[in-house]
Chain length 177, copies 2
């Protein structure tokens, strides 16, 4: 991109009404992924606040989180910890069950995911909504011995106040609605 | 890495017996992901055979496929098409149902995932086993108007002969068992 026309990442987000249910306006990241320029700029902007902090690992929950966490890990020279739904990780796992609007959900990480105690871990996801998932992920990383040094999101739905759930961590988001 | 000690990616794969069921030896990629050096080298080796071919898009099925497809897309300056389980993609989708050892599975892509007809698409996944999933993905990409120019895998379980299912595409794998 020329410096004369800075890229507006929000231009690459498509609004889809009534998904996944009536009344919900879904912010679709697939146009952003289709554009190598926009995707690259997204990773650059996610990395920017966290460069030079000695971050050891990036952690993200499946599946969309992996799309941003994996390139970000390489961008800041960190390893990647996949956080998964139950039954997906083959080694010894730690599980965490957390409340959703209706019902509960469970996530798992490998018990040995944190290379050494106190490793600096950056949490990444595509979307910060109510914050339930990211708060659960932070808890799991700390239970496994990691130090959460921040949370980074492509999109933040500000009205849902998810940021309050992770108030103790530096949190950045690139596109806010 | 020094040139004197070339990295052996297989050293970063952990064997876990009896997962997901008795008698299955699971090849666990999480140690590879923990190492930024090994993860970076994996992406470099996946990209190598496909550089300079004008590939427009990388396509991968959730969830582990995203971990390699996303950095590979940036490495070769391509966009990314996520292929997902039903009900995850918000736009108009194409679906494809295919047979598994027991039962069937269904995957979806956005109907507008291929930017223009004839776009060159490289398929990526962590593992080539029986080839059912990757063959289904190739079919979907072609139905959406894309041209599949190859398939790239981190691990190939050679004895399962998945390569036969995608014999018409150039196929590379980095680690073979």
């Amino acid at each position: 991109m020329s410096n004369a026309t800075p890229l507006n990442l929000a231009d690459f987000i498509r609004d889809i009404p009534d998904f996944p249910k009536p009344g919900i306006l879904f912010r679709d990241i697939t146009p952003l992924l289709q554009s190598p320029t926009a995707f690259r700029e997204t990773i650059r902007q996610l990395a920017e606040p966290f460069r030079g902090q000695g971050i050891d690992l990036i952690a993200a929950a499946e599946a969309r989180g992996f799309i941003f966490a994996a390139p970000l890990a390489l961008e800041i020279n960190a390893g990647l910890i996949p956080i998964r739904k139950p039954g997906k990780l083959p080694g010894k796992t730690l599980s965490h069950t957390y409340e959703l609007e209706y019902g509960t959900d469970t996530l798992q990480i490998h018990a040995d995911a944190i290379i050494r105690p106190g490793c600096k871990v950056l949490m990444v996801d595509d979307l910060l909504a109510t914050g339930g998932t990211i708060a659960a992920c932070c808890t799991m990383i700390e239970q496994a011995g990691g130090a959460v040094v921040g949370c980074a999101f492509v999109i933040e739905l500000v009205g849902l106040e998810g940021r309050k759930r992770i108030a103790k961590y530096p949190t950045v988001s690139l596109i806010r609605y």
